[in-house]
């Protein structure tokens, strides 16, 4: 089993997976507790359009995904304001736009559809050195901003009105959270796949909420669960020759079901 670590592509896959499994639950906690889980899906489907565009015009697909993810979260804010009484439709509009654009742009990919497939469901072998470095740099930015804003994020997530009255710049904090979400989605699309990244933001948090006795412990447990799902998911996917993204996500779902069975009284 240990021979998998002798391959450079597996080393890169583990490093990227560990970084993603650190940042996805950090952001996921706020997204889940603010009841904005649909935003992860909307953003990742929009990222896919950027990835497809990157493959067509020859720029790095993750950078394309990053650009479209940021555009997506800003658009969600725009539609949420326009339909303030039905804000949940904002995520659906943006997700539909993302899928529509992906369908059209992917028709122009000349180097076969396998490249885009790798981003849909995740791919271990495809991670380049540049993408690993990009993931580490962007991941570090997410971790630093999350750490600096942890008190504001908790306050805004728990009670936005009280946070604003205490002097928290709630609009700035919310916009920052959305941009961190966009970064997380775009860097995670390589290993976990764009279709499954939102589940890596949500499932570890759902598991942590089953056992967390405080907000702080919920964040810590979310990271522990995400790390466990990613590391064991990668190992299983290597040994059983399965897609990494699907393996990671299903491992999380199975764990959640087991935890729910043991926590029926909660």
């Amino acid at each position: 089993m240990l021979d998998m670590f002798s391959y450079a592509f597996m080393q890169r896959a583990f490093i990227v997976a560990i970084v993603i499994a650190f940042i996805a639950p950090c952001i996921g906690v706020s997204i889940v507790l603010k009841r904005l889980s649909a935003i992860g899906d909307a953003t990742s489907h929009s990222a896919l359009a950027g990835i497809a565009l990157g493959l067509v015009i020859g720029i790095n697909p993750i950078l394309g995904g990053l650009l479209f993810s940021i555009l997506a979260v800003l658009s969600i804010e725009f539609f949420r304001k326009a339909f303030s009484k039905f804000s949940e439709i904002a995520a659906v509009i943006v997700m539909s736009t993302g899928i529509g654009l992906t369908a059209i742009i992917s028709g122009f990919i000349t180097s076969g559809s396998s490249n885009l497939n790798g981003f849909l469901f995740g791919s271990i072998v495809a991670i380049s050195n540049f993408e690993m470095c990009l993931t580490i740099v962007l991941g570090a930015i997410v971790v630093i901003v999350f750490t600096l804003l942890r008190h504001e994020l908790f306050f805004v997530t728990f009670d936005e009105e009280a946070a604003r009255l205490a002097g928290v710049k709630t609009k700035l904090v919310n916009t920052t959270l959305m941009i961190l979400t966009a970064i997380t989605v775009s860097v995670a699309s390589r290993v976990v796949g764009a279709l499954m990244i939102s589940s890596l933001m949500v499932i570890p948090v759902a598991c942590a909420m089953m056992i967390g006795k405080s907000y702080r412990l919920t964040v810590i447990w979310s990271i522990i669960f995400a790390q466990a799902f990613s590391i064991f998911g990668l190992i299983i996917s290597y040994l059983a020759d399965l897609r990494p993204g699907g393996t990671i996500v299903l491992l999380g779902v199975v764990t959640l079901i087991i935890l729910m069975a043991f926590n029926r009284d909660r």
Partner: protein, 246 residues
């Protein structure tokens, strides 16, 4: 005496309906203002204007001598709303985490961790509201009355000089209600200036030192409670309500 809150000729409309019309009053340190009136008479609207939750179109409000548009000392104002009834009970936060969050307004470098003195403040305010033994409990597991006491502690931790309370006892059982009113009266006895709306009008008339009575036309009548007997206040309130029903 120190002037805490001054409201001058404040009017407010919700699209076509006018809820406040030329409301004026001044509160000094230690005053307890009870705001009474029918539902929709403008009680909550006034509190939201003071807190800048709603934009002030007509009139002027000053807090501690500063116009509210320029007022930045957020820690001097505590606010307790009807939280217990609108609260997401599955949110995984402890009593301590909820209360400590409101230290934000007092902290110069909020990205740093909490200090020893912050934890002392936490214990002090939880002691004040009788919730110290629950500090590590998840807030969602508490009763409505206990949650409301936690939200009072949260308002108190920034050491405010003015406490605004909008129906803080909604959905609270009778025993918790008495305890909460007792906590509020004690805070006022210690010098805290309080503005409060409450569905229990007789109780509010009993504990207040100043009263603002709203009728349907939005022009509140400001009364010094000490100048009047309970019967006289009730007569004025009944007169306003009579006017409302007419």
């Amino acid at each position: 005496m120190d002037e805490i809150l001054k409201v001058e000729n404040v009017s407010f409309d919700y699209s076509d309906a006018q809820v406040l019309k030329n409301v004026s009053f001044t509160l000094h340190k230690g005053d307890f203002l009870g705001i009474i009136g029918a539902n929709g008479a403008g009680k909550s609207t006034l509190i939201k204007l003071i807190l800048k939750i709603l934009p002030l179109d007509k009139g002027r409000i000053t807090l501690f001598g500063t116009d509210i548009q320029k007022f930045r000392d957020n820690h001097k104002i505590g606010y307790v709303s009807q939280k217990a009834s609108s609260f997401n009970s599955q949110f995984p936060a402890t009593v301590s985490e909820v209360v400590m969050a409101n230290l934000y307004s007092k902290r110069r470098y909020p990205f740093l961790g909490y200090t020893h003195s912050d934890y002392e403040k936490l214990e002090r305010v939880l002691e004040t509201v009788g919730m110290l033994e629950f500090k590590d409990k998840l807030i969602g597991n508490l009763s409505g009355g206990q949650q409301q006491r936690v939200f009072i502690a949260r308002a108190l931790i920034s050491e405010p000089e003015l406490l605004l309370m909008d129906e803080p006892t909604v959905g609270v059982d009778a025993m918790q209600y008495a305890q909460i009113m007792d906590i509020i009266s004690k805070l006022n006895d210690e010098g805290m200036t309080i503005v409060m709306t409450n569905h229990d009008t007789p109780e509010l008339i009993r504990v207040s030192s100043k009263l603002l009575i709203f009728c349907s036309h939005g022009n509140g009548e400001f009364l010094n409670r000490a100048d009047l007997t309970v019967d006289e206040v009730n007569a004025i309130y009944a007169g306003k309500r009579g006017h409302h029903h007419a």
